[in-house]
Amino acid sequence: MKRQTRWQRFKTNIQPRIKELKFSLRRIRGSPLSIVGIAIILFFAIIAILAPVLAPPEYPDKPYRIPRDGFSPTPRPPSEKHQFGTTEGQFDIYYGVIWGTRTAFTVALMVVGATVVIGIILGSIAGYYGGIIDEIIMRITDIFFAFPHLILAMAFVTAFGASLDSVMKALILVWWPSYARLIRAEVLTVREEDYVEAAKSIGSSDFRIIVKHVLPNSIYPILVMASLDMGAVVLVAAALSFLGLGAPVGYADWGQMASFSRNWIVGPPGEPLAYWYTVVIPGLFIFFFVLGWNLLGDAFRDILDPKLRRR
């Protein structure tokens, strides 16, 4: 008997949320840009999941190592054996970009996931308690905002030693303040709402109020920013790898694939575009990946914001 009432309570609780979700999905279906964004992201997700099928690794225990076909410095054009050709040092471009998709998802999810968690913790503490704690946390974010992400990350990566792990650590260190600020601002706006007052008056704990009432009401701006940042993080990570501060040589990583092309921008006399594939292919992968997230984030901004959408 008790179980049924609990189920019923759950059902009544969930009903408005399902209605809201259905409404959101209908809005997404009506926005062509977000459909394109979702399609692009799905396409990359499928590549990442099917990587072992699309490009079977040569070294099964180290799938991110790009197989080499000799050591000649001159790139070779697409052929039967190498669908997208090879870079300098004969790294297979097709293998590199396929497994590079997994690298991109790993970096983006790790960095965005970690910064959202840090941001939620510090941002809600700052916003909910205010006072001196708020002041300290916000002054720390001010310091980080004095630097472009890429430049501060560059300093951290130099300190940690160039590797993909360092890139992720550095990006988490430079990226969290944006979420801390966003979440603090959201907490500040809902803190004074009647339902928070009501929860306080019946004796809810601070933790319960933050998790049950404050965060669910500020989830949409976080989603929008996280979506845009999935692309932005990959852009900065690729730039670091391109500059030679990221993944080790031969690791499947788009930024590094692009850096292999730097000496081969101009072909031999008579055929200036002879090595186009070394430049164009890795770059297109980065561009479309970032574009997908940006389209989705941009559409989310218009669709998901409950304050804007019913106007």
């Binding site: 300093a155 690729a238 101009v266």
Partner: protein, 344 residues
């Protein structure tokens, strides 16, 4: 009167941020081992041979607060260490490479702001019409572009396909030799400006030819950024009551947009100038590396790869200071233009 007290308040707020930047850089510094850190205290390359004595002299194995004292005394005296990647003290290197980066900014900043605002206003005025959709899509594509890839593609087309049309680096070899000879006085080390001051038109043409691709690379992403801000700011201004009043008076569309809406829409754009400068600085790091354009960004990347720690940290300190001061100027300008800010 209120303006003066606002300036003083704002200047006082600057101190904790600058101190914070110094603390942050000191924290990064602590991630290195004493031998690597020793390079920060070197004034003369000969000292590099006796690293151990530096470690003792500056207490690099002592507790953190002792080290901080010795480090901050050096920094406040303007000694940021020795950059081994280019054999020059860091402070000198900053001044040596700065003009090249300034030259890039002289062209990139006005172009970015002008085109960005233009496109944003056009997009806002034609809201939800085809023009709006096209400019917005282009903007999204613009900030999805990896800067380094755009640079490489432009080089492939305009240096490779159109052989040698717009070359990388700052000057052609022969021109560079002439510029560094006694016949040419380097007043500012900003090539285009020096060429004009020396009256050498062909040097100017060569410098401009080399600037086209880096400036294009640097601006594309940032134009997209300015355009977005300009569009939303303009949309907001167009929805205001005074626009309706202006229209009700019977003013034509052109006057309403140019005289009434655009001026008011420009104010919020000033506030993002700090972000724009930060974006351009990060872009300059990549652009200068791609085009082998020897400015601050090129130097910092080169230093980072060679683990030239004083150079990297000196560069980061410099950038942090530049961004903070830009934000200060922006705030003061904003308060000057809009009295509500300083009175609020």
């Amino acid at each position: 009167m209120e303006m003066r007290s606002y300036i003083i308040r704002r200047l006082l707020l600057l101190i904790p941020v600058l101190l914070g930047i110094i603390f942050l850089i000191f924290t990064i510094l602590q991630l290195f081992d004493p031998v690597q850190r020793a390079a920060l205290y070197v004034r003369d390359p000969k000292q590099l041979r006796s690293v151990q004595s530096i470690i003792e002299k500056y207490h690099l194995n002592d507790p953190v607060y002792v080290q901080f004292y010795y480090w901050i005394t050096e920094v406040l005296q303007g000694n940021l260490g020795y950059s081994k990647s280019i054999n020059m003290p860091v402070a000198d290197a900053l001044f040596y490479f700065l003009p090249a980066t300034i030259e890039l900014f002289i062209f990139a900043v006005p172009i970015t702001i002008f085109i960005g605002i233009r496109l944003g206003v056009i997009s806002a005025v034609n809201r939800d019409k085809p023009v709006d959709h096209v400019t917005r899509s282009l903007a999204i594509a613009g900030y999805s572009l990896p800067t380094f890839w755009l640079g490489l593609m432009l080089l492939m087309i305009f240096y490779g396909f159109f052989t040698g049309l717009f070359p990388p680096e700052r000057l052609s070899t022969s021109v560079d030799a002439f510029v560094n000879s006694t016949a040419f006085i380097r007043y500012t080390r900003i090539n285009t400006l020096d060429a004009i001051l020396n009256g050498q038109l062909w040097v100017l043409m060569d410098a401009l030819k080399h600037l086209v691709l880096p400036v294009a690379t640097l601006t594309v992403v940032n134009i997209a950024f300015v355009m977005r801000i300009a569009r939303s700011s303009m949309l907001e201004a167009l929805g205001k009551g005074y626009i309706m009043a202006a229209r009700a008076k019977g003013l034509d569309q052109k006057t309403v947009i140019n005289k009434h809406a655009r001026k008011n829409a420009m104010i919020p754009i000033i506030t993002v100038a700090g972000y724009l400068v930060a974006g351009l600085l990060a872009g300059a790091v990549i652009t200068e590396t791609v085009f082998n354009y020897k400015g601050l960004g090129w130097w910092s990347v080169n230093a980072a790869i060679q683990l030239d720690i004083p150079a990297v940290l000196g560069f980061v300190l410099f950038i942090g200071t530049v961004v903070v001061i830009t934000n200060l100027i922006v705030d003061l300008l904003y308060a000057y233009i809009d009295p509500r800010v300083r009175l609020g």
